[in-house]
Symmetry: C2
Subunit: 218 residues, 2 copies
Amino acid sequence: MSIITIERKILEKNDQIAAQNRENFKKKKIFVLNMVSSPGSGKTSILENTIGILKGKVNIAVIEGDVQTDLDAKRVDKYNVPVVQIVTNGACHLDAKLVQDALSSMALKETGILFIENVGNLVCPSGYDLGEDMKVSILSTAEGDDKPLKYPAMFRNSSVLIINKIDLLPYINCKIDELIKNALLINSSLKIFKTSCTTGEGINEWCNWLQEQIHNKS
Amino acid sequence: MSIITIERKILEKNDQIAAQNRENFKKKKIFVLNMVSSPGSGKTSILENTIGILKGKVNIAVIEGDVQTDLDAKRVDKYNVPVVQIVTNGACHLDAKLVQDALSSMALKETGILFIENVGNLVCPSGYDLGEDMKVSILSTAEGDDKPLKYPAMFRNSSVLIINKIDLLPYINCKIDELIKNALLINSSLKIFKTSCTTGEGINEWCNWLQEQIHNKS
């Protein structure tokens, strides 16, 4: 029982700092996406493709969250956008304080977009508000069509689902209609995109939609 | 500081119960594997293939751990082996107490093998001893060759790494030699198998090795 109380305290404290982050983002008119998924779903590849298309049209910044290494930050850094790496040293999710600390070392330009790439984990990051406008779940087709049912919290708490690696569908046992049906069973208001970072399919649709959201916020 | 203390207490309590589980397994001469991986790496498929080959040669039992649903237990149940489903209701890993409770409802036959399929999560289950003989990490090639570097604790704490979905290698950006090099950098004593549940490649090698381990324990 005491453990539950402490967990609640941790989450309450997190929510307070998340609210501060959200206020900060609102003032600066920055649209903030918390990118969540299992390891290896293609979060960083989606990010690289998105930055490639949106760069020059909108101010972009990135926070990379990883248990270890700065491999992802190095990938994003090639695109010459501001990027800060948070290494959690074993912790299984980002929290609002880590993001707040990262923000203090970033020169965020007004009216833009901030991508926060969370630790690869389909369970724990779902419970931690970072102050984002929305969570975006990425799910690789190779993970299978039953995942929304088996890990519902992440899909329930997301506004967008990107189904990535659709180029692999001919080679794997994943029925994409079943996947979409399962995702909508958990969260009927999910906005769904189908993408491949190998063929480029679906990336433009996702980027066009993103630009509309930024336009609506600014 | 108090949080760290409480985490330590939780882990100490877990280790005590894990030791009881281990003693129980030792008495009954049961070889116990804790199967850990990201969601969708193919843990259940590996398990189905393994049971298909080993059934009739050795007593098999299964504990399935999932955040939600009994989909995996239903898949395993078709093989007519004793299976208990633990639904963690949001918790991101199994712990020794959950396994102990599951064991109390199982009629474990002596001299056999128990597979514990953990929650799909490449971070949190690495820290929780369940009383197993060894952790077996499963990694899908579709997750990419950098994962051992980015999620080192799981690979450091495992005795075996099964690299699954090798049939997808022609279609994806994953260099298997690089993956193996990265895994051995983190843990040079890892026993590595390369498998595909679609083609069946590597499953016999894995099962032969398993039978040797059971023989050595009994």
